[in-house]
């Protein structure tokens, strides 16, 4: 995980939320004001009681009793009202910020390139989307408000204390210095564990997700309890971190409780001594302690408010690690248009290497030059791992070339809007990536406004008429990742999806690998009709798939070493024979 960049201050870090909070700020301020009023009223009510008891009631006049009762009722209702108002004010903005942040994250994640998703574990993304943003919302809702209000209360209280007796007030002030120090130390101690616990929670989410997505493998090998062991180890680590957090909190809390107690004891000693010396009245002494007692809660609360703040801070950091991750594949500033769409796809000396490839190796694609003419079908053949799939991914900019260029009808693909490019080029991946939606939605993913005729035509071409036998026909929901279909059925749906998008260029990555010979022949026959007018790039492992193509390109060591018709290459190119021919030598002799 990308962590440990330069450490910002907590304030600077949290301020990055501001753009999401801007419109909500007035209401947040009002919420703070209401909280402050409620706090003040809560402080005032006991004073009023005391004053009343000392004043009117002393006279024993029962008609006087109504005013104090009304005052207490009024103030009491005001307090309740202010609490309600604070919550009402803060609720919408806090949840609004939360929603905005969540939507922004999702949008961002969809925009970030595939290489980003390769690197980031899914659980880390999920924990950021859900629990981290929730933490920020809670902090805005309570943490921030209470932090401000309680700090203000403490300041006001201190002023009170100083005004009652400056000596005692000073004692109080001096004694609170350790608290500042401990709070500062606490940040160092806590912030790191808070971050670690969030990261570990993300890893745990990843483990859960993989254990469910990989359930078939785990079951096939009977490795459920083995996976559980791994999971338990991770959960144990998280527990350790959480306990470390608890210890840090216990530590700060200990000081937050002890220091005021010691201060009280010293104040008691000093106060009584001062009173004995006649420098302080008993009334002042009582008032001092009454006020100081009121300050205890705000002081104690600093502990959890700080931990909440640091939690929210590392959540913010984690959030912005995604929001600020560099996006290398973006739309061009001045997008170009294709004026005469024909579907000519050309690779000009294309170089490509994955960012995490071993340092001393040659580029995976080391100067691929290949031109596919409009309407032509080009097969790409090469051994496993030679880079065929990578080559196809470059055409729609799932990755960008690291050298050279790819042009579609003469325009560099990087000069087109991504949506435009991806509308012109449709892909079928080697593993059918289906969604848990209806068959219709899956097939029409690239062109949702297609008619039913177009849909059934696409299904027809892919020989996917089995969908009509499903319980609800084309509206049947297929399970997660389409796993309630057979392998060949999934592949045909993925093929139908690419065809239904009606692109100018079809990129098919080993599209017939899961089909039996007969179905394959049927699909090929139907596809040929489409391919007659559509440019296509087809990755092939078998001679039967190559049959689809007009010409074949042989990918070897990152370069196209030969282009030609299948029979030509078979006759002239030894590597081609090695890759594509499964006939034993004797068979070959027999045929020759």
């Amino acid at each position: 995980m990308p962590a440990g960049e330069k450490r910002q201050g907590t304030l600077a870090s949290m301020l990055r939320i501001y753009p999401y909070a801007k419109t909500a700020m007035p209401r947040l301020y009002l919420g703070m004001a209401a909280a402050l009023v409620a706090a003040v009223v809560a402080l005032v009510i006991p004073q009023v009681l005391r004053a009343l008891v000392d004043g009117p009631l002393q006279d024993g006049d029962s008609s006087q009793i109504w005013w104090p009762v009304v005052a207490v009722l009024g103030l009491g209702s005001l307090e309740a009202l202010m609490i309600w108002v604070r919550r009402a004010f803060v609720l919408q903005p806090a949840t609004g910020i939360e929603s905005r942040m969540r939507n922004a994250l999702y949008t961002r994640l969809q925009d970030l390139p595939v290489s980003f998703h390769d690197r980031w574990a899914s659980g880390q993304l999920l924990s950021r989307m859900l629990s981290d943003i929730n933490l920020v919302r809670r902090w805005l809702q309570f943490g921030l408000i209470l932090l401000v209000v309680n700090s203000l209360t403490i300041v006001v209280g201190l002023v009170f204390l100083l005004s009652i007796s400056w000596v005692l007030g000073l004692v109080f002030l001096v004694c609170s210095i350790p608290l500042w120090i401990f709070s500062y130390l606490f940040e160092n101690q806590y912030a790191a564990v808070a971050r670690r616990s969030q990261d570990q929670a993300g890893d745990l989410a990843t483990a859960v997700e993989e254990s469910v997505h990989g359930i078939r493998v785990l079951k096939a090998f009977g490795r459920g309890s083995y996976a559980l062991k791994g999971f338990a180890t991770q959960a144990e680590q998280l527990r350790g971190t959480e306990l470390a957090k608890a210890r840090a909190i216990a530590n700060i809390w200990f000081w937050l409780l002890l220091v005021p107690d010691v201060t009280f004891a010293i104040s008691l000693l000093a106060g009584v001594w001062l009173a004995a010396a006649g420098q302080l009245s008993v009334g002042q002494l009582v008032a001092f302690f009454a006020t100081a007692t009121v300050l205890r809660w705000p002081v104690e609360s600093i502990g959890f408010l700080l931990s909440m703040t640091f939690d929210a801070r590392s959540a913010t950091d984690r959030y912005f690690e995604i929001m600020e991750a560099p996006n290398t594949i973006v739309d061009p500033e001045h997008p170009k248009q294709i004026t005469q769409p024909e579907g000519r796809l050309v690779f000009h000396d294309v170089h490509f290497r994955y960012a995490d490839a071993a340092g001393d190796t040659a580029d995976l694609l080391d100067g691929v030059t290949l031109a596919i003419e409009p309407g032509e079908t080009m097969a790409v053949v090469g051994v496993t791992g030679s880079g065929k799939s990578s080559l196809t991914a470059l055409t729609t900019r799932l990755y960008d070339v690291t050298g050279g260029s790819i042009t579609l009808d003469g325009v560099d693909v990087r000069d087109l809007l991504r949506s435009d490019l991806r509308q012109r080029i449709a892909m079928a991946f080697e593993d059918a990536t289906l969604f848990s939606a209806s068959v219709r939605d899956n097939v029409l993913l690239g062109k949702p406004d297609s008619t039913d005729e177009e849909l059934s035509e696409a299904l027809d071409i892919a020989q996917a008429d089995f969908v009509f036998q499903l319980p609800n026909g084309i509206d049947t929901l297929i399970g997660e990742e389409g796993l309630s279909l057979s392998g060949g059925q999934r592949q045909r749906l993925a093929l139908a999806r690419a065809v239904a998008a009606r692109p100018q260029v079809l990129v098919l990555d080993d599209p017939l690998s899961a089909l039996d010979v007969d179905t394959e022949a049927l699909v090929e026959a139907a596809l040929r009709r489409v391919l007659a007018s559509t440019t296509a790039l087809v990755v092939a492992h078998r001679p039967s798939t190559v049959m689809l193509a007009d010409r074949v390109a042989l990918l070897e060591h990152g370069k196209i070493t030969a282009v030609g018709r299948h029979s030509e290459l078979l006759a002239t190119n030894e590597h081609y024979r090695f890759v594509i021919s499964s006939l034993d030598d004797e068979d070959e002799e027999l045929r020759a």
Partner: protein, 612 residues
């Protein structure tokens, strides 16, 4: 989820995860849900009772220490000061030392409590996490097909999160506040019982308010659970299929859908928070009104001379502080309601009975020979149509069987029955004469291993992925397996060799390489019955040839079912089964079938033609 799973215990409308997204339970259903939640909670707490008791004791003592503080200060002022004026400093000294003492005790205990309660909370979470994980692993593939991974992730993340919040907010709130209120109520009754009665009467509207809050917040929090699960489901699916999302420009449509879910989640949250936003000030209001009433009644009595003024003051202060902890308790109650909604969902998942249950009295099979028999087997997925109509079949130990047939014929289904992903709807499948349903799961998994059609790799190193076939395998064994299937070469070429991370779902390696790694994994597992479902479909021909060679030695003395569309595998098979529409239509040696005129002869001819 409204579909009923035939494997559920009982046939109630709310057992297991049935009705999980509903929010309109009748009395019986609500009770059933509450009971199972409580049962779960109980079983989580039971092993911890000693620690919990200790923690509560610590809280009680620390509360006592805290309550003593103000009394000592009062003592210092009331007794210490006059004494000090007489130049007797001992009472003051006593007060100061006493105060310091209680202060230190209080602080130490609270700190200790913090750690103790975190221990308890974390122990509960750890236990719960493991239980859910273990249980999801035990649930059948069929269950997972309908429940979706996102929801299980939701149970394990956001639901557990809200339970964690409850445990964090802690029992000290509850115990401490409860104690406070009790102490204060007693003190008030002793002081002036009439004011005490006012307080008790104030409990009536409090009870109504709490009841209102309880019933409404239960609904609201359920809603938050359901909406957050939906959010997670969509999120996980988008991230899993990000390539297709991009390639087919689904971003905008996804955004709209997601924004709707975010809005639902927000609305649910707002609903829940709003309720507390009424409950909390409601409590304050009740408290303050009670205060005014105490003041009114007391004031009248004071005016009439029936009450000391000092007593009234004390009564007022008590009444005021009675309601302060009530707010804390309300907060606890709020987190409790949130956690309860989560617990409902989790307990539902845990209640779900595995559709393919482990045998209660398992039969051991130490050395499997690999004899597979199907007797009157019939199968269909769930309540759907029959995929494999009634058939008998015997696969002799040591045979290599090629299973071929058109796509969707039911080959993988047969394989999944053999590896007991599903149980047949009728009839039995037995290994060496033992019904698979009775076989000890350990022995079953050791004896039968399947390489599934979709080669799934876990994030982690190549080595780890291969060693899944045999946990604890040495590096030599792993390398040996990789060499045997011809994967060693490319693995060595990866940046960190066997320690290279394959990324999520093995995205770091090519499709063919993924298959080779899965293959190596099965090779390492060394089972008596090996099932290969299209295990070489994404391989190039040279690699496939290497695999074939490896297979010939590997399969010499074990039963193997090889499913393949590329008939090159058939060469090494002893026997070929041809499947059409779930029926085995041809059965014989490859040579016999090829020379015949049946389906297989035709398929084989077509395949030969396709080779060039």
């Amino acid at each position: 989820m409204s579909d009923t799973d035939s494997t559920l215990s009982g046939d109630s409308t709310v057992s297991g995860v049935t009705g999980e997204e509903r929010n309109d339970f009748n009395k019986v259903e609500s009770r059933q849900i509450r009971d199972r939640s409580l049962k779960l909670l109980n079983s989580l707490l039971r092993p911890l009772w000693a620690r919990t008791t200790l923690t509560i004791a610590v809280v009680v003592v620390s509360t006592a220490a805290q309550v003593a503080g103000p009394a000592i200060i009062a003592f210092g002022i009331d007794t210490g000061l006059p004494a000090a004026l007489d130049h007797r400093w001992i009472p003051l000294g006593l007060a100061v030392v006493g105060y310091l003492f209680t202060g230190i005790i209080g602080a130490v205990l609270i700190a200790w409590y913090t750690v103790l309660s975190a221990r308890i909370g974390q122990a509960i979470l750890f236990d719960l996490r493991k239980r859910v994980f273990r249980h999801t692993q035990r649930l059948s593939v069929e269950f997972h097909e309908t429940y979706t991974s996102g929801r299980i992730i939701a149970r394990q993340t956001s639901d557990l999160e809200s339970i964690r919040e409850l445990l964090d907010s802690g029992i000290n709130q509850l115990v401490q506040s409860g104690l406070y209120m009790l102490f204060i109520a007693i003190a008030l009754f002793l002081l002036d019982w009439k004011s005490g009665v006012v307080l008790v009467i104030a409990l009536v509207p409090l009870a109504f308010l709490t009841r209102w809050f309880a019933s409404r917040s239960q609904l609201a929090f359920r809603e938050t659970r359901v909406t957050s699960a939906r959010l997670i489901v969509q999120f996980v699916e988008t991230m899993t299929g990000i390539r297709a999302v991009k390639a087919f420009r689904k971003e905008k449509r996804n955004e709209t859908g997601f924004a709707g879910l975010v809005q639902d989640y927000r609305a649910a949250n707002v609903g829940a928070i709003k309720l507390f936003g009424v409950f909390d000030p409601g409590l304050v209001l009740i408290g303050n009104v009670a205060l005014a009433v105490v003041l009114l009644i007391g004031g009248l009595r004071v005016a009439a001379g029936g009450l000391e003024i000092g007593v009234l003051l004390a009564a007022l202060l008590y009444a005021r502080s009675f309601f302060a902890p009530a707010q804390e308790m309300a907060m606890f109650y709020n987190s409790y309601q949130a956690a309860a909604a989560s617990l409902e969902k989790i307990s539902g998942l845990l209640e779900e009975r595995p559709g393919v249950p482990d045998p209660t009295r398992p039969i051991d099979l130490w050395e499997a020979r690999g004899d597979l028999r199907f007797d009157g087997v019939e199968f269909g997925y769930g309540a759907g149509k029959v995929i494999l109509p009634n058939f008998d079949l015997e696969l002799l130990a040591g045979q290599t069987i090629a299973l071929v047939g058109s796509t969707g014929a039911g080959k993988s289904t047969l394989a999944k029955l053999v590896s007991r992903f599903y149980d047949p709807s009728k009839g039995t499948i037995s290994l060496d004469g033992v019904d698979l349903r009775m076989l000890h799961p350990k022995d079953l998994r050791r004896a039968i291993v399947m390489v599934t059609q979709e080669a799934y790799l876990f994030s982690g190193s190549v080595g780890e992925n291969i060693s899944l076939g045999k946990p604890g395998a040495s590096r030599d064994e792993i390398v040996g397996a990789a060499k045997a299937v011809g994967a060693h070469e490319f693995i060595s070429a990866l940046p960190d060799g066997y320690d290279t991370d394959v990324n999520k779902r093995g995205g770091r390696v090519s499709a063919g390489q993924r298959q080779l790694i899965s293959f190596a994994r099965a090779f390492l597992a060394d089972p008596s019955v090996l099932i290969l479902d299209e295990a070489t479909a994404s391989l190039d021909i040279p690699s496939e040839r290497l695999v074939q060679e490896g297979l010939q030695t590997l399969l010499a003395d074990r039963t193997a079912i090889i499913i393949a569309h590329r008939l090159s595998t058939v060469a090494i098979a002893d026997r070929v089964l041809v499947m059409e529409h779930g029926r085995i239509v041809e059965d014989g040696t490859p040579a016999d079938l090829i020379s015949g005129t049946g389906r297989f002869a035709h398929m084989h001819a077509a395949w030969r033609d396709s080779l060039v």
